[in-house]
């Protein structure tokens, strides 16, 4: 065995491929580690990050493990050495062991190289001194060693023994591909499972590589834990590793014992050989046949060769299996991703095309790369070329036939996407197939990428002339190069990233929009480039035995004649023209800059204009907006007639204006101040900031009139998706007018330091800043102001701005609308235009006031409108009754195209993404009806945000978001009952806990939160729900009502802070429970509650007496996630006994409590004895997971009898 082992080792060490593998194994983690970046407080080289880098390598190296381990025995078959080898006096077991361990040693070298690569990479990362890449911790060998053992080595052993076994028994190369792909799918599946709360536990078992399992395990870890905890073989990770290691050992042992020389040598089962009994009958035309070599014959040859090549691909088992796997994955992806908040969406064609393509196209690309390699190497591999290449078929024909066959395959793959989509829709009972969209999407967006992929892969394979190396280079170019360009150069320029296009989105309102134009040009650009490669490839086409590079070059020169030159020139010319045209559009007409550029512009601006932060400036009291939207040209013209005032106690002599509109080319065309036209004395067209000298200073309390005209135009096609103005579905905000103050644009401390700016601990001023208290969070350019808008758009479209529609008319083939807002609001407006249908309803306020409800929706979206209306009504009702009557006489929801998923509440008007409920399938009651919930949240913002506007201080945003979330939860409770919100709370808990590790620098408490959505939404809703649960909803609402009374409409002269909200709630809370308000708002608290044991016995009375012990633990954490203190006081926690889960009227599974009480629990064990009528099955502490607890599974325990 030793000799076999040493021979294997020596054999490998003599092969250049081995060194290439090892070098690649070293290089990839090095590059990844160099570019590893941490935007959070996690160290860039934390144990978790290192595990991520090395764990990822396992998946990537799958290919190499398979190649090295798989061929160890297969080699003896391939080189036909088996026959002699097996006659030597070596036992079968020693042969297998020697081959296996020899190969495994090589694989281990690779893994060691990977570890060294990662070490070097991180070391280089430290050395490069890039503050924007995060903070590094000191080198820790263990952080590399454990992933090396538990991930790399275990995985190498598993993959190695699997492929070693497979190839030993099956002796066929395709097995390598298939096995690899199956493993790859398992990883995809496990990462998909991880994304779903109900199935995430499965990833522990399904993930063969361990990294996904570990991701599941450390999902709720804090930054501190990620920074300090080493990978350890325990708990669920141990289970995962043991399962796959066990399987690996099983396969290895099986191979070891089942392998026999005889079995290996016996060829595959004899096929039924067809033998024709029929004797030869001499036919006609024997001796002399006509040979034709004209162009018609050439064409026929080309066609017939292409057909043969095509069939030899599509008839192959591997191809079919890959296809089937691709289809299954596509179905899985569609099923998994066609949902929002766990609620399925309708299988609309616009979803299907993207999701099916998302699943299949990866496989299609794999197939095309594999078969491009096969097409190049097929005759070589089976040695047919030795006579075939001497046949009178031109290089052109040979070469083209292969490309044509691959294009044929690409067509098949594209059509399959369509068929699968239609079948998926049909199976889901959805019959509104939009075949046009299917074809356009697949043939205009997907097919071109297939073409460029196959041409590139084909070219590389021709040039490299080594299958494995070829595949590898293709993968590097296809994945590695774009990654490198993006990471190293922060570029998103589609002209340099292979296959890059401008992108866009599909919408029911806006269809394909204007995006196909850019995609067409960029696809043409890349296809033409690959066509040039294809022509060059032809020069290097290997025919016969030409091998040395010199010879190939010589031949290439020879072949580079006449027509080839002509084709090259034609393609070059076309490529250059298309490239130039695209460049003109992307870079000349529009802007395309790398990420560093934007950072630098923002940093320079802060250096120049930072001095204006917090300085007095004019504020708006009245605005009359005149907005003209031109959807066809995607252009806006706007005029604002402002009345402005100086609310500060110093005179103002300059006027600062910054353009923040998302369309790059937005210009201020005219500024008239008190009837004097102003010209800027400072023009910063890069940052779009302008400064004007006022004719005479504006004195404190003095007002002036200001008219600003602006224009936003789009030109050609841009790499920016430019969603503000669309053909059908325009949605933009008041940013069409410039702001009157400067605000910081960079908040990431790493990026700030890199660009020479000061580190910021807090982004907003503290709550003690008296000037900040006078500004509202949303826009400091105004306090409460009046608003009127005259808005025009193309005929047929409806344009909407906040306020009551007072007038609408048509003029010059355009539609005009005038809106006037009742009362005042903060400076926060939206302008929307599209072809809408309107659904009307109304709501009567407690005072008897009638409020019109309007839903502006796409004619295609009628299905869920009632949920929106219900959400509006219930929220209007709840807020009006509990806090303050709704101040307006209209409220509306307006759909906007699917470029993003959100809804936003402006006074009277809530623009709502078409993806956000309009096309969801709410038919199942257990699914969470987010249309209702988000609507009630957004409506609540009319109070929490617009009536009480947060001050521009740290933490104040909870007044808007946490309270809207609270109202939304209460309306849900009202509508669906306590049980209806269980799923919601579960999601909140999960989102909060799993987002902590991604927190922006230290984790803030609720009262101090500035950027963490997961804190003001998810943690906020958990805290508020618990509070109203223990002190009562009415009490909470009383507190909130007095809070609103105090701060509404800025009557007090300053805006509310989170501390004000805290005080309002603290006041209404009984003393014994005040700790809950404190814990919730001012601390980071995690509970570790669990049931220790539970026993029940039947009493003589027929009742059941249950004795159970629960353990209660509450821990305070600091902002880095370090444990600070374990609470020693009593806490009020739910305990309960439950029967079997029951299914309620709405088909939702719910718990069935026999006993359920809030109890004061001592820290540590608490024992209870409870008598119930029926026999309980489970005992629980905080069984509904109302408290924040990282392990909610142990809160319930089965009761023993």
């Amino acid at each position: 065995m030793k000799e076999i082992y040493l021979f294997e080792l020596k054999y490998r060490m003599r092969r250049p491929a081995t060194y290439i593998y090892i070098f690649i194994a070293f290089l990839i983690p090095l590059l990844i580690a160099v570019f590893e970046k941490s935007n959070t407080a996690q160290f860039t080289n934390s144990p978790n990050a290192i595990m991520g880098v090395l764990g990822g390598m396992s998946v990537l190296y799958l290919f190499f493990y398979a190649a090295i381990m798989g061929v160890a025995v297969y080699r003896d078959e391939e080189h036909r050495t088996a026959q002699t080898y097996f006659t030597f006096p070596v036992s079968e077991k020693n042969y297998i062991l020697g081959r296996f361990w020899g190969s495994f040693t090589i694989v281990t070298f690779m893994n060691i190289a990977a570890v060294l690569g990662a070490m070097c990479g991180f070391a280089m990362g430290i050395f490069l001194d890039r503050p924007d890449y995060g903070i590094y911790t000191s080198f820790n060998f263990a952080s590399y060693f454990y992933p090396f053992v538990y991930l790399l080595s275990f995985n190498a052993f598993f993959i190695g023994s699997l492929f070693f076994g497979l190839m030993t028994f099956f002796k066929r190369m395709p097995i390598l591909y298939l096995g690899g792909i199956v493993i790859f799918i398992l990883t995809i599946v496990s990462s998909r499972l991880l994304a779903n709360l109900d199935t995430e536990w499965l990833s522990v078992y399904v993930d063969p590589f361990g990294a996904e399992a570990q991701n599941f395990i450390d999902k709720y870890w804090s930054v501190h834990e990620l920074n300090t905890t080493q990978l350890s073989l325990s708990g669920k990770f141990l289970i995962n590793r043991m399962i796959w290691l066990g399987l690996a050992i099983g396969i290895f042992v099986f191979t070891l014992f089942r392998f026999s020389y005889k079995g290996f040598l016996s060829s595959k089962k004899k096929q039924n050989t067809k033998e024709d009994k029929e004797e030869y009958k001499a036919g006609h035309a024997l001796a002399k046949v006509v040979q034709v070599f004209n162009s018609k014959a050439r064409r026929e040859n080309l066609w017939s060769l292409s057909k043969i090549e095509f069939l030899s691909i599509v008839k192959e088992t591997v191809f079919i299996i890959l296809m089937v796997i691709g289809i299954v994955i596509a179905g899985f992806v569609a099923y998994q991703s066609n949902q929002i908040y766990g609620t399925p969406s309708l299988p609309l064609t616009r979803y299907m095309v993207a999701q099916i393509a998302g699943g299949i196209s990866l496989f299609s690309v794999i197939i095309l790369i594999i078969y491009a390699g096969e097409a190049v190497h097929r005759t070589r591999q089976n040695k047919t070329f030795e006579f075939y290449d001497a046949l009178p078929v031109s290089n052109n024909t040979l070469y083209l036939s292969k490309i044509i066959s691959l294009i044929g395959v690409a067509v098949v793959l594209t059509l399959i996407s369509i068929v699968v989509g239609v079948i998926y829709q049909t199976l889901n009972g959805y019959f509104d197939y939009e075949l046009g969209m299917y074809f356009v999407y697949n043939f205009a967006k997907i097919f071109p990428t297939y073409i460029m992929t196959l041409l590139l892969a084909f070219f590389i394979h021709v040039l490299v002339n080594n299958k494995f190396l070829g595949h590898f280079i293709v993968i590097v170019i296809y994945i590695g190069l774009p990654l490198l360009l993006t990471l190293a150069f922060k570029t998103s320029n589609p002209l340099v990233i292979f296959g890059g296009t401008t992108g866009g989105f599909l919408s029911d309102l806006n269809g394909f929009g204007h995006y196909l134009v850019g995609e067409f040009w960029l696809n043409s650009y890349w296809i033409l480039l690959t066509c040039i490669l294809a022509v060059i490839g032809k020069l290097f086409w290997n025919r016969g035995f030409f091998s040395s590079g010199k010879e190939r070059l010589l031949l290439a020169k020879q072949r580079f004649t006449g027509r080839t030159i002509a084709y090259t020139l034609v393609f070059l010319f076309a490529f250059a023209s298309v490239g130039a045209y695209s460049y003109y559009n992307l870079k000349v007409l529009n802007q395309i800059e790398d990420g560093n550029y934007g950072e630098k512009v923002n940093a320079d601006a802060e250096k120049k204009y930072g001095k204006y932060i917090g300085k007095p400036h004019i504020q708006v009291t009245d605005l009359k907006a005149f907005i003209d939207i031109f959807p066809e040209d995607r252009r806006i013209e706007a005029k604002g007639e402002f009345k402005v005032v100086n609310n500060f106690d110093v005179a103002l002599d300059t006027l600062l204006m910054e353009v923040k509109f998302p369309i790059a080319e937005t210009r201020i065309t005219k500024v008239v101040y008190n009837d004097v036209e102003l010209k800027p004395f400072l023009k910063d067209t890069v940052y779009r900031l302008f400064m004007y000298k006022l004719p005479e200073p504006l004195q404190p309390e003095e007002s002036a009139s200001l008219v600003i005209e602006t224009e936003a135009i789009t030109k050609g096609f841009s790499s920016d998706t430019e969603t503000a103005v669309l053909g059908n579905g325009t949605f933009f905000r008041d940013a069409i007018f410039p702001t009157f103050h400067y605000e910081r644009a960079l908040s990431d401390n790493g990026i700030r330091i890199k660009n020479g700016l000061k580190k910021l601990d807090y982004l907003l001023p503290p709550r003690t800043d008296s000037i900040a208290l006078k500004k509202n969070l949303f826009n400091e350019d105004a306090n409460y102001m009046t608003f009127e808008a005259t808005i025009s758009t193309s005929k047929g479209q409806t344009a909407i701005a906040p306020g009551v529609l007072t007038k609408k008319w048509e003029e010059d083939d355009r539609s005009y609308f005038n809106y006037k807002l009742e009362g005042k609001t903060d400076y926060f407006f939206s302008f929307v235009s599209a072809e809408y249908e309107v659904k009307n309803d109304f709501w009567i306020a407690p005072s008897g006031k009638k409020v019109d409800i309007e839903i502006y929706h796409s004619p295609k979206h009628k299905r869920n409108l009632d949920y929106f209306i219900k959400g509006i009504k219930i929220s209007l009702d709840y807020n009006s009754k509990n806090f303050f009557e709704y101040p307006y006489s209209v409220i509306r929801i307006i759909e906007f195209p699917a470029h993003s998923n959100f809804a936003q509440s402006f006074a009277t008007t809530i623009p709502y993404s078409e993806n956000f409920g309009f096309v969801a399938d709410f038919s199942k009651a257990e699914d969470y009806n987010y249309a209702f919930r988000i609507t009630s949240h957004e409506v609540a913002h009319q109070w929490w945000g617009h009536i009480v506007t947060p001050s521009k201080t740290s933490g104040a945003n909870i007044i808007s978001e946490t309270l809207a979330e609270y109202v939304s939860l209460m309306t849900m409770k009202k509508e669906y009952g306590e049980n209806g919100i269980k799923a919601f709370l579960k999601n909140s808990l999960d989102t909060y806990l799993s987002s902590r590790q991604f927190s922006f620098k230290p984790e803030r408490t609720l009262i101090n939160v500035e950027t963490g959505q997961y804190i003001w939404y998810e943690k906020g809703s958990m805290i508020m729900y618990d509070l109203q649960d223990v002190i009562g909803e009415d009490k909470v609402n009383t507190g909130l009502r007095s809070f609103l009374e105090e701060f509404k409409y800025n009557e007090k002269g300053y805006y509310a802070t989170s501390e004000d909200l805290y005080k309002a709630l603290y006041k209404v809370t009984p003393d014994s429970l005040k700790y809950k308000v404190n814990d919730g708002f001012k601390e980071i608290v995690l509970y570790e509650n669990r049931v220790i044991d539970a026993n029940t016995k039947e009493l003589k009375t027929g009742k059941w007496e249950t004795t159970f012990t629960v353990n209660s633990k509450k821990i305070y954490y600091d902002d880095a996630g370090r444990e600070r203190e374990i609470d020693k006081k009593k806490n009020l926690v739910d305990i309960g006994l439950f029967g079997e889960d029951v299914v309620n009227d709405e088909q939702v599974t719910i718990k069935d409590p026999f006993y359920f009480e809030l109890k004061w629990l001592e820290p540590g064990d608490n024992k209870f004895t409870i008598i119930t009528d029926e026999k309980p099955l489970k005992a629980g502490i905080d069984p509904y997971n109302k408290l924040i607890d990282r392990n909610s599974d142990d809160n319930l325990k089965s009761i023993e009898e």
Binding site: E279, G283, V289, V290, Q381, L391, F545, E551
Partner: protein, 291 residues
């Protein structure tokens, strides 16, 4: 018809496979005799457009092989020494395909032609069988069949009879000599008898160059009276090899014999033999062999 001039080829690893090869070959069978590794296959491939030479030229019937390989391929029939097949394709289908490539576009003609060809190589019975399931001999016969498609003017066969049983071998030889009436047939082999039986012209090829070229009989006769044989003991071989120009050492009924070349009677125990082409072959490659 086939004229090879100053052909040179050195492989990247330094092996000089062709060393200033010059050959003029006319219609008829031409034998290319040489030991293993002499460069025969390199020469064959080079003529068959599958490989480039470093210098020199090959011209066939007015076609410059290097600059117009496609023209040559139209009139070429080539059976390489070692070749593969598409394992999942039947012989009939493959031959049909090749016939099409070779310009036989009339479908009924082609079908009849392929059937005839299959019959000629005795594969008609097995025509529907996948090539992957063919035995070595059958595969070789398939190779022969494909080389004959389209009545080629230049037929190059590299070790064609390897793996054929004697009957098939004869059958093939007949087929080949039939073709030789009308075309240039180059038969590359290390089996001397094949050349004797078939060829009107031949060349001995060794270490990349043509050692000698001529008619087999004439070449044989050129050594008449200068080849001697002696029975010797095994232990003596080394001594003889030092003293004489030993062409070959071989066993006859268990007794070791040596054939030596000498201008005059070399001495005791040596007798003049009825020399054959084999002796000439050994003489010309000047490399004593043990057969």
């Amino acid at each position: 018809m086939l004229s090879i001039k100053n052909l040179n080829k050195t492989y990247p690893n330094g092996t000089k496979a062709l060393n200033n090869v010059n050959l003029e070959i006319d219609k008829g069978m031409f034998g290319l005799l040489g030991p293993n590794g002499a460069g025969k296959s390199t020469l064959m491939r080079t003529i068959a457009t599958l490989q480039l030479s470093d210098t020199g030229s090959i011209e066939f019937d007015g076609i410059d092989v290097f600059s117009e390989p496609e023209e040559l391929r139209k009139v070429l029939g080539y059976l390489p020494q070692d070749f593969g097949v598409y394992p999942k394709v039947s012989a009939e289908m493959m031959l049909n395909h090749i016939a099409k490539i070779k310009g036989i576009h009339n479908k009924s003609d082609r079908t009849a032609y392929v059937s005839d060809l299959l019959n000629k190589v005795n594969l008609y019975k097995f025509r529907k069988r996948n090539l992957g399931d063919y035995s070595g001999g059958m595969r070789q016969r398939f190779g022969i069949a494909q080389a004959l498609i389209g009545n080629p003017k230049l037929i190059i066969v590299d070790e064609p009879t390897a793996g054929l049983d004697p009957m098939e071998r004869n059958r093939f030889h007949n087929l080949l000599s039939e073709l030789g009436e009308d075309a240039v047939v180059i038969l590359s082999t290390h089996i001397v008898d094949d050349v004797v039986n078939l060829c009107t012209n031949m060349a001995v090829f060794n270490e990349g160059s043509v050692v000698v070229q001529g008619h087999p009989l004439e070449l044989t006769n050129s050594l008449n009276g200068r080849i001697f044989r002696k029975k010797i003991d095994k232990e003596e071989l080394e001594k003889y090899q030092e003293e004489y120009s030993v062409l070959s050492a071989y066993l006859r009924s268990g007794q070791l014999n040596v054939n030596v070349y000498s201008e005059s009677q070399p001495g005791d125990g040596f007798e003049v033999v009825n020399n054959t082409l084999e002796d000439f072959y050994f003489y010309s490659i000047n490399q004593p062999q043990t057969v």
